[in-house]
Assembly symmetry: C2
């Protein structure tokens, strides 16, 4: 009797699923902010090939992993990574608690607000600022502070929340991939804890699917006896370049089927993904739209910048190995939801 | 028109779901291998409280995270951790490739098969054996080797595959929690790559939900140009004691609602879980069944052993802070599926 009821139930589920995915849905474009062209075609073809059971490239649902860089791939990274802005914004609070830092470099330069000098700060100085603003507190406290800032901080060009500067075509792509059974991950050179503070709300990507640069933690007890995890100024995972492929294995343990990046920092991730068997797709955003966003490379004769370098060498490798280079100017009909 | 079809589809889905979970199912015990008692009650009460929308302790589905230790919690750890047996079994293959190791300690002792001497090897020697057998190869090669071994290696007492020595009550619990919307993780002091090789098949837990002790990796290229990730003899994450709470944050990024362990190595994980707001449950297996499995503590007057220590201090902390201690002897009706 129970078997009968179950068979009947599964029959109904099948009929219902068939109705839900009727012809009207098939005609709806899942990527309306993408212009027709090679990039959009490659995505649609890849998803069909890996999800159609009769396809020779069919991929089991549990193996459907897609990894996205964040800065310059999911949202604007120019002229300064959002997390760097966060660090600068946090500094006055840190100095209030530790006044002795006010007269010490590089804190002095940042507090003086000298933008030109700030942009030229060497990496070592940036790391000192990162350590002062991103470590020394419990992980929950850090998350709450980051959330407060991200809910109010605005970029200087568009005067909008940073979370509004996410690329609409990519939000559509994340949703489309998830609808096709892909588990979407962020694999970012940015701070894992920082991105986790808003990724679920902004991208629909839960904390456990955000992989990023991470410092050490120390488990300790607060005065009331409650356990705490304090963020330590010690680099544990540098999630850039080769580190991206390595941390994908560490944190996910499966080779992704799909990767999306925009700079040399994403090269090894794209290589790792394409190096697997079966259907694999690696993609890169080329920022070639100086009107609607920014134009920088230096690939394809675009200006060179310090942030998010897309070199000619990377461009050539992409062409040679069948990665798809997405032209922001030509492939994206809309860039932002507010456009 | 489309709306109508969707409404009809969702109506059918609702009817089908209702039929599938009819009254016969509701009366079925989700934990048949657990005896009635405080431990089983605590689990059922916790799951009801956190999944019933009208409960003050209701937990949003995305926050439902449950973490399980493996050795001694999900499967037998006595008299030797399975992964240690694996390392010993692999050693002849390693020495075949590097014959110069045959006359060097501790390899000589292990190759001689002197069980008494092997059991007494100090930690430094075990680490040398681990480095020789678990590192130096690509992650895919390691996974394939581990899978071959786990499909054939048998334990000396029951003469069964190690994967048959998983505890049936815990397999039921994992399934029950997942049915209630919990994402189940393994958080093990054992090697992350080793456990990932079989966890999906054995526990229904995918690689990305296995957190464990992990070494560094190096991204490189094979002679044919394909990217490889080589396992390096360098400890990156020591997933024991405080390391368990720290790596839960690193790998999951949410404080679990439920934790299950069996030794002092799980103490901080259990503390971290219980230290959060709202309903939380921490549990420990006490191995007090010398007939059906093993009896060791040294809590509750049980014999002290080197492997999986459940100290009196841990026992007292559990009593004081409301963790549930599960008596293998009294709380588990059946221990193994083959019983």
């Amino acid at each position: 009797m129970e078997l009968h009821r179950r068979e009947f139930a599964s029959l109904l589920l099948g009929v219902a699923a068939g109705l839900a995915a009727g012809p009207a849905d098939a005609q709806t474009d899942p990527l309306p902010s993408w212009n027709d062209g090679a990039a959009k075609d490659a995505i649609l073809k890849f998803v069909r090939a890996t999800t159609d059971r009769s396809s020779p490239d069919f991929v089991q649902p549990e193996e459907r992993i897609a990894t996205f860089d964040q800065d310059g791939t999911l949202w604007v990274e120019h002229p300064m990574y959002t997390q760097v802005v966060y660090c600068f914004d946090r500094l006055p609070v840190v100095v209030k608690a530790k006044p002795e830092l006010a007269d010490v470099e590089p804190f002095k330069t940042v507090l003086a607000g000298d933008r030109e000098a700030i942009v030229k700060l060497p990496l070592d100085d940036l790391l000192k600022i990162a350590a002062a603003t991103l470590t020394g507190m419990d992980v929950d406290q850090f998350r709450d502070e980051a959330r407060r800032w991200i809910a109010s901080g605005r970029d200087p060009r568009w005067k909008r929340l940073y979370t509004e500067l996410t690329y609409l075509p990519q939000l559509e792509l994340l949703k489309y991939l998830r609808g096709a059974g892909y588990k979407t991950y962020i694999v970012t050179g940015g701070g894992q804890d920082f991105v986790r503070a808003y990724a679920e709300r902004v991208y629909g990507i839960p904390p456990e699917q955000v992989v990023g640069t991470a410092g050490g933690l120390s488990f300790t007890y607060a005065p009331d006896g409650r356990p705490e995890l304090i963020k330590e100024p010690k680099l544990l995972i540098n999630d850039n370049n080769a580190g991206k492929a390595e941390s994908i294995h560490l944190m996910i343990g499966r080779r992704p089927r799909f990767a999306f990046g925009n700079s040399t920092g994403d090269r090894q991730m794209c290589e790792y993904v394409k190096g697997g068997d079966g259907a694999r797709l690696s993609m890169l955003v080329l920022h070639d739209d100086d009107k609607r966003e920014y134009a920088y490379g230096p690939a394809a004769g675009l200006p060179d910048t310090k942030v998010g370098r897309f070199t000619q060498e990377l461009y050539d490798e992409a062409q040679r190995d069948g990665w798809i280079v997405v032209s922001m100017k030509n492939d994206w009909r809309r860039i932002f939801a507010f456009d």
